[in-house]
Amino acid sequence: MVSGPLNGLKILDLTHIWAGPLAVRMLSDLGAEVVKVEAPYGRGPRELPSSPLGGWIGGAPGEDPWNNNAIFVKLARNRRSVSVDLKQAAGRDLFLGLVAQADVVMENFSVRAMPSLGLDFATLQAANPRIIYVTMPGFGISGPLKDRVAFGPTVEAMSGFTTVMGYGQDEPRNTAMALMDPVGATHAVAAVVTALQRREQTGRGSFVEMSLHEGGVAYNGPWLIDHQLGERITSIGNAHPVMSPHGVFSCAGEDAWLALACRDDADWQNLCSVVPGLDATSNLARRRADAPEIEKVINGWTVELDKFTATEFLQRAGVPAGPVSTTPDMAEDPQVQARGFFVPYERFATPMPGNPIKIDGLDPAEWTPCPGLGADNAEVLADWLGWSAEQTEAALAAGVLADKPPA
């Protein structure tokens, strides 16, 4: 456990894939004590059929590939792992024992999953009236779409966001980066801290629901209001409805780009002091009317420079501008390095993204790497339930607990 404002908070983490684990990571970075409760197959089988999307920690699957999936590892710092088969009565009872000691249970399964295990909210609440139960299904727990299968990219399509994302009205695009998962994650964190404060006042736990779809629709809120007011909202590529110029410009080098924007006339005049051939007296209306010609002039300047040099010239003049960063650019960004954002706490000193919430007293030097599957069975069950080593060994032998995927 790391130092932070959430010290003393005990979370049982049943989440998987991205939205849920990202939310729990943020909470653990703030000092919550997290026990990841995982099915024996929770990290896949003993031999994975192909390389994972993010590769392997250390570059190779190793002898325990289920513990080395880099995406999983990235999201699972600062916690202990208990691997338990919740489909067995003994596993379910063990879990309810942990619930009795916990403050929060978080999951992002389908709405059917927990009830089918006999672990609905009423059951958890019977074990612990103060428990805060957070569920993050794709479409919420009620309504005609509640049983739809949902992943971030499909939820994005159903949120309305495709109306505005793309190269133009006839060329819609999906971001292809599961945008709704991190939206769900941040709001799940917001929900947990809200529920905690309610519990302080009422003494009771609560049922918290975070629908990925509603997170996505909420993100479109201002557009949805304008749409009802009669505005025609559509995709405008890299342009902006008010700012001009506003876009992405080609730089010297392969697939090298720079983004810039002029928020107002002051930014425009600053831009004109750097890029030759622009009219500093042009107002916003003229800039919008002349946007294609202006962009051509800017491109003529940027294409001769590498993206970092062009950025330096523009920033020195006070123009909002920055490189379109590749992954190495992100890692080598002087700002990111100065603030120590990527932290090499994981095995093989792999740099991992840090916590965007920096608070005095939080120190990434305390972070602990992702535990192996079931690596903390004995320790957690002793700490939380007072189990003996013999009890844990017996549960392992009976297949109620696991420390590796079944053969």
Binding site: I71, I225, S235, N238, W257, R339
Partner: protein, 348 residues
């Protein structure tokens, strides 16, 4: 919650944090200043969405600002730069929880760099991987970054309040650039662990095949078929023969034969209406999302029956506004009231 006093300074991220506080019943006072970065929607829409159920004041002197900050439980202060945040007197504010929101953070060589959302999305690694491979990358329209940072600012302040006895300070520093970098799904680990730089592939998720937008009779659908859904997807397509096709038996093979598979899917879906595809997706239990227009979203029975929308008024019209996306104990979301900004400083 007990009525928390929240002082809100700044633009859209601070506004979103204040929105979350206001929806939970806090007494939010927003000090209005002209936004440096123009919004993606009208002033009426932004005001209703972000500033309902708050009190708003204008022309606040530094002395009065300090008085408000001294009485507040929480101060959310967003600035265009770190120096802009410090110029408000932020360092001297004595609230129980303080959150500074800036583009690059309160420290570091770029702390005072000029930024807009599209610049930060570019520097934060989002833009490079969005759009078509043979064209300029695409930035993300709208206020995704502001709202995400606003949600984090709210969470940080609430965490600080809940942990006042914990060994941590009361001041949070949230940089928008780092927020983006913390929310990459596998971009950075793929580079650090596999040595590969993620690039853009249009709407195609690329590493999971098929994952792409497809045209249908009256719109578009997005399919995102991870391996466990392949069999069910063949039924969804009404093309069970693809299950026996040696080109498609694993995700790796489907990636190798992506064009051939996409052609089969395109042909299978092109004449089918979105409504039917939505029903098929439900019956076959596959991750397929029909592309909804804003009219579709506003008309969704699903969201109506869940009480998702709250009523508000903008530009003289009653409108539906998305509620806060999380719900605790099924509590109804509150209706929205917007008051005009006032010069009278509220009493706390």
């Amino acid at each position: 919650m007990a009525v928390l006093k929240v002082l809100e300074l700044g633009d859209y991220a601070a506004g979103y944090a204040g929105r979350l506080f206001a929806h939970q019943g806090a007494d939010v006072v927003r000090v209005e200043t002209p936004a440096r970065e123009p919004a993606w929607a009208s002033a009426a829409a932004m005001t209703l969405y972000l500033h309902a159920n708050k009190r708003r004041v204008v022309d606040v002197s530094p002395v009065v600002m300090a008085q408000l900050a001294a009485q507040a439980d929480v101060v959310i202060c967003e600035g265009a730069t770190a120096s802009a945040v410090q110029a408000t007197g932020f360092d001297e504010f004595t609230a129980r929880a303080k959150v500074a929101v800036t583009p690059y953070g309160m420290t570091g060589p770029k702390r005072d760099w000029a930024a807009t959302n599209n610049v930060l999305l570019a520097a934060g690694g989002y833009t490079f991987i969005m759009g078509d491979p043979d064209r300029a990358p695409l930035s993300l329209p709208g206020h995704y970054l502001d709202f995400q940072v606003g949600a984090l600012a709210y969470a940080a302040a609430m965490a600080v309040l809940s942990g006042e006895d914990a060994p941590a300070g009361n001041t949070a520093d949230i940089g928008k650039l780092e927020t983006l970098m913390s929310m990459s799904q596998f971009t950075t680990v793929r580079y650090h662990c596999a040595g590969e730089i993620r690039t853009r592939h249009g709407s195609d998720y690329h590493f999971v095949t098929p994952s792409e937008l497809f045209r249908c009779a009256d719109g578009w659908v997005y399919v995102n078929i991870v391996a466990t859904f392949w069999d069910a997807f063949a039924l969804f397509l009404d093309r069970p023969e693809v299950l026996l096709d040696a080109r498609f038996t694993t995700n790796d093979l489907r990636m190798e034969n992506r064009d051939a598979l996409h052609a089969i899917i395109a042909e299978a879906l092109i004449d089918i209406p979105v409504a039917e595809l939505g029903m098929r997706a439900a019956e076959c239990r596959v991750p397929v999302g029909v592309v909804h227009t804003f009219d579709d979203v506003l008309g969704l029975e699903h969201l109506r029956t869940r009480g998702f929308w709250v009523r508000g008024r903008a530009a003289g019209q009653d409108v539906d506004v998305p509620g806060v996306p999380f719900r605790i104990d099924g509590v109804e979301r509150p209706d929205l009231g917007v008051t005009s900004a006032d010069r009278e400083v509220p009493a706390w």
